[in-house]
Symmetry: C2
Subunit: 140 residues, 2 copies
DNA sequence: GGGTAGAAATTGACGCGTCAAGTTCATCTT
DNA sequence: AAGATGAACTTGACGCGTCAATTTCTACCC
């Protein structure tokens, strides 16, 4: 469980010069039909802090993979849009990424264990989120 | 799968001022009956690079949790030994660590999924290690 | 026995994530 | 309408991990 994310990350970086997280950012953007999303929304979708996202987006911007633009008349809101180059990069990286997940996770498992893994994922996620908050009630 | 290690790490750090990896290092040392181990051996046991280990051990040493000493007449070999303070720290941290793993992983799962998780762990580990090396033969 | 190989560990530079602080707006209050 | 509040980002400093280079020994070779 500890080595899997590390292995995926290492491989992505070798093959596409993209962090797993950078890939997520680009990938989420590429799924929007105008390839645009507001920073906060992007942060939620990638479950990252705004700070982390800002740093990463800054780097991706200097690499020419996306651009930022303030939304006028709406506080400090900022939109980030995937550039053509960025779209090409994510399209090029996707097959490798999918292959990696397949090879390291999906293929070695029997279907019964794959199903179990889904249940495990949900349960663990619930425990982590529920733990500190105790389902938003009856806590002191 | 991605959030679990992060969650465990964050919690350990809050509760014991110890990284998961730092805890591993101290814990492995505490299991040796003389609380001593050679750097390279420790690196293998914690599956870390010698470089990473050296950095971490350096910090733990300045925190007074362990000490380093060259083994004379044996190349550049170095032993690291847990200090009394280090032992106390790991003993104090252990229950919290175990509790966290229980709470986030073990307790939310049914026994059937727990068993599946073991199989999954082995299979994934094998895929990761086998992938780049192709079981140490017939590769180019 | 001087020289090379190579094992064991350390070091420095660099990139990324986090945390706390700072900006820049819009909005609400009175 | 001036001032406070708060939302949405950004920035800087700091710690950790990685990679490449370096150091420090032993051992082998001829």
């Amino acid at each position: 469980m500890i080595s899997l994310p590390a292995a995926l990350d290492a491989r992505m970086q070798r093959e596409s010069q993209l962090t797993f997280f950078e890939y997520m950012v680009l990938s989420v953007l590429s799924e929007q039909e105008d390839r645009t999303m507001q920073m906060s929304a992007l942060a939620v979708r990638t479950s990252a802090s705004l700070s982390r996202l800002s740093h990463v987006v800054g780097r991706l911007e200097t690499r020419g993979l996306l651009t930022r633009s303030r939304i006028p008349g709406a506080g400090r809101r900022t939109n980030t849009t995937l550039t053509e180059a960025g779209y090409d990069v994510v399209v090029a990286a996707a097959p490798g990424h999918v292959a990696a997940v397949r090879e390291y996770l999906i293929d070695p498992l029997e279907t019964r264990d794959l199903k179990a893994l889904q249940r495990i994922g949900s349960a663990v996620q619930a425990a982590i989120n529920g733990g500190p908050v105790r389902q938003a009630a009856a806590e002191e």
